[in-house]
Amino acid sequence: MTGVLEVSGLSKRFGGLTAVDRVSFTTDAGELFGIIGPNGAGKTTLFNLVTGTLRPTAGRVRFRGENLAGLRPDAVARRGIVRTSQATTIFREASVLDNLRRAHLLRTLHQPARLLGRGVRAAELAAAEAGAKEILQLLALDRFASQKARELPYGSQKLLGLGIALATRPRLLLMDEPAAGLNSSETDALADLFRRLRAERGIDIVLVEHDVRLIMSVCDRILVLNYGRAIAIGRPEEIRANPEVIEAYLGGADELA
């Protein structure tokens, strides 16, 4: 059975430093997959390898059976893998509604050739508008619709980033620490959102997180990284009880409880 995202033997070395060391895992369709690990374990690097932002030193990534080797980030995105990152994933100067509208339009305007002789027709603009409003409602960002993105509170900016990613109708959503900077009620809302996305839109989600509570509560399976290596993979209960994992989180052992 081909999984959704198949990572095999993926490695990345920067000079003498091995950031990711022969990591392998496969996600299943409809699964909420989580990746945890201490700081510097290589989680973000792993994402960068999947999205084509970085080139792997070794190993392979396949998405729905197709090899992603050597593809640039925009090509990977066109195949349905979209990520959100901790850094700016919003258009700061545009309004919230504009951000979402633009994201919808960009979805079809990947190459200039698509503009030849037609520009953007009214129907597409209307669809973009409708889609943008729908996402606004889904994420409860309606009240910010006409505000500039950079004026939003931090948590809402992150939500907007998620909204932009959703606007492109991804098949696989990679989220890098979506809960960073959110308080516990916001985090709970996020967890609910993830479940809804999976259930209502059939979007597969891979989540990198520091907030172990979130991961444990929402993910079907979890991969644990430490110093670039995969040290455990399995269901939350298994991970919780894994001695190697507990040791890796020395000092944070109570977080796992």
């Binding site: 925009d74 090509a75 990520r83 258009f91 979805r107 990947h110 200039p112 953007v120 492109t168």
Partner: protein
């Protein structure tokens, strides 16, 4: 509505004045203004996507020499040589674009600098084709469908049309969906790419269109002055175009239009003091970049926006 009236009046004035004011010298300068305007607009397209291209003077030269040689060696009429010049440069831009636009910022500047210098070097060294440092003399006057363009006024009107078209294209490009994508790329390229936009293709597109107009401008220049030498397409010419853009304002195509009108007549007035002209340009660039980086047009827009709020 008021804007349209103003625009129509200006257009009428621009077209009509050489018929009222029969001054050959002024009209001559006006021709140079329109040619510079076209070139400055072509450069502006690249500047607006954040790429400092310094090859455009050489592109102009390519268009100029191509048009001259096609009409002199192959006897092609201006009506064919003119678009051919534009298309040749566009083709070169389209061919080199995918390689050159892999890089941004200073690397792109270095690449286009190398290309520009290389092209001029070829003009200088390939004597049998381009006439070397002595250049090419006796380029035939342009003629449109039997009407020989022999007066500066004719060239002015033609140049004005060309500049007008370049202006409209520049405006349309950036207002359309293409412009929206380019704005997104400019504002947050990583995000745009992670949403699937192929940044390089878009930039190559702009590079090609800008090369096209640079070539066309060169063609008009060749048939107007009847004489070409490699010196006319050196880095200095590009600096002129850059100053026009910086002083006028990069953010809108009106900037280079205003800049050309203000700056092109200047050297004609300061004719004898070339080194003072250089110094003036240097100081102008410095002053504007530090104190008014959005140029005159941009500065006015900012002022109006501030007054509104």
């Amino acid at each position: 509505m008021a804007r349209r009236i103003v625009f129509a009046v200006l257009a009428l004035a621009a077209v009509g004045w050489p018929f009222l004011v029969e001054n050959r010298y002024l009209t001559h300068i006006a021709v140079l203004v329109t040619i510079s305007m076209t070139l400055a607009l072509s450069l502006n397209m690249m500047l607006r996507i954040g790429q400092l291209s310094v090859v455009h003077a050489a592109f102009m030269g390519l268009g100029a020499y191509t048009s001259a040689l096609l009409s002199m060696r192959l006897g092609l009429p201006f009506l064919l040589a003119f678009p051919a010049a534009g298309l040749l440069v566009a083709a070169i831009a389209a061919a080199l674009g995918p390689v050159f636009l892999r890089v941004k910022g200073v690397y792109f500047v270095l690449l286009t600098f190398a290309l520009g210098e290389g092209i001029v070097l070829i003009f200088q060294e390939w004597v049998s084709l381009f006439g070397g440092n002595n250049g090419i003399y006796g380029i035939p006057k342009a003629s449109l469908l039997g009407f020989a363009m022999s007066t500066p006024r004719a060239y002015y009107l033609f140049g004005l049309c060309l500049a007008g078209i370049a202006f409209l294209v520049a405006v349309r490009i950036f207002r359309s969906a293409l412009g929206a994508v380019l704005d997104s790329l400019n504002e947050n390229e990583d995000l745009s790419q992670s949403l699937g936009v192929n940044a390089r293709s878009y930039r190559v597109c702009v590079f090609t269109v800008s090369g096209f107009f640079a070539g066309l401008g060169g063609s008009v220049y060749a048939h107007y002055t009847s004489f070409l030498s490699p010196e006319a397409f050196s880095f200095w010419t590009l600096v002129d175009l850059l100053v026009i853009n910086v002083v006028g304002g990069i953010a809108s195509p009106i900037g280079p239009v205003v800049g050309a009108i203000l700056l092109v007549p200047l050297p004609e007035l300061l004719r004898d003091a070339k080194q003072y002209q250089m110094l003036t340009y240097g100081l102008l660039l410095m002053t504007f970049v530090i104190f008014l980086p959005s140029g005159i047009v941009g500065g006015i827009r900012d002022l109006r926006r501030r007054r509104r709020t």
